[in-house]
Assembly symmetry: C2
Homo-oligomer: 230 residues x 2
DNA sequence: ACCTGAACACCGTTCAAGT
DNA sequence: ACCTGAACACCGTTCAAGT
């Protein structure tokens, strides 16, 4: 009775550390995923994490691996079909996007990686395989990866957010702005951007994402056909 | 002789603070632009900066304003011409890119802004104006902004860097990777990506950027014509 | 092998105080 | 009006020490 049995706690592991970080980022944003907060969620001390991750960069690498494993699993399942390259590519990219939409921090983390994550390489390798089987030259497949950029993984950085533009602006400011940017003001008035739930935090609605993706895929298809003809 | 005249120092100002921050980011990277380091460069204390910027976010806002003012100045000069929308748009975007290439930190800072910077809005307004004068409907111009995304400002986030892939990898690792990603390995072997100076730090070479930009502009042009016909 | 306490060098930021 | 010293709450990370 003098020695009280300590609460037994599940032992740490690299996976538990990574999952705790993901969980924190999901619920409170990427900024909440600090070593100290992650450790706290695991009922441990910050220094303990360093037994499982080399440093913060390694932690984010691990998170990317987790994310990409999920995406690649979907792609592999799709692999069976893959006759029409354009439809298959579209399907894969939109599947990847669905997963990203559940993790708003994903684009920022993916972009922050300077090292080459094997799972990311594998994802793109499968895209190239799909294009090659669809009649792409290696050269065009290479151009295609560049043209898609981050869109290949299901997101695109938007610098312009008509939905968020009005946030915190009163009528006077909006009127002033309309004078200074008549083209945009007219455009937005006509387009009536009434799709309020853009889940990635940018004005990057599903339909706009698909419009842009199709524009690129169609352009690539034309180039592919042109090369085959000539 | 007892009281030694203190070295007179140029008084601070918001502009001097912003310029010092830009200078630090240019030379030592964005991470070097801390309040303490900026103040040090100005021969002042970190707390003095708060007289000219509300906080770090406000500082980055100011930097974006500086950058965009430079870009908009170029665009305004171009405004005189602007007959063929496609050529004018291409020229503007590549001009913006030239300026961004001198500031490797610019994409990250631009993406980090959540608030709407007027100068960024104005830049896009002029793009819309150009498209409208070129026969775009408001709806297509709106799609176009989404399709271009960050490319409208002259950069695109690349998640895939064939040049950097080999960094820190020995032959054994590369051989293993080639087995796991045969499509990519074959593609890269054929394309022979021997353009070593990608200035933005991604595999985002000028020619690849232009290829993607033209792919999108051509696609938009076709849609514009299609709409005009129907 | 696994975890931690104490400590270090950094952050951004506040606030009362100096000139 | 302009600038600063001292202090606070937070980082990531190291290292020697505990079990």
């Amino acid at each position: 009775m003098a020695t009280q049995a300590a609460e037994p706690r599940a032992p740490l592991s690299r996976e538990r550390v990574l999952l705790a970080a993901v969980s924190l980022a999901d619920s409170e944003g990427l900024g909440a995923a600090t070593m100290r907060r992650i450790a706290e969620a695991l009922d441990a001390e910050a220094m303990s994490l360093y037994y499982y991750v080399a440093n913060k960069d390694d932690l984010f690498d691990g998170i990317v691996d987790l994310l990409m494993a999920e995406i690649n699993a979907v792609v592999d399942r799709d692999e069976a079909t893959g006759r029409d390259w354009k439809q298959a590519m579209r399907r894969r990219i939109l599947s990847a996007r669905e997963i990203l939409l559940r993790h708003p921090w994903a684009p920022k983390v993916l972009e922050s990686r300077t090292t080459m994550r094997p799972a990311v390489v594998i994802y793109h390798d499968r895209l190239v395989g799909l294009m090659r089987s669809g009649g792409f030259s290696n050269d065009l497949a290479h151009h295609a990866l560049h043209a898609l950029g981050s869109r290949a993984l299901g997101f695109s950085q938007e610098l312009f957010d008509p939905n968020g533009a009005a946030a915190g602006a009163d009528d006077r400011m909006l009127a002033d702005l309309a004078e200074q940017v008549p083209n945009l003001a007219g455009m937005l008035a006509e387009v009536a951007h009434d799709d309020p739930d853009s889940t990635l935090g940018w004005c990057d609605d599903q339909s706009e994402f698909e419009f842009s993706l199709d524009l690129i895929l169609d352009g690539l298809d034309r180039l592919r056909q042109g090369a085959a003809t000539s």
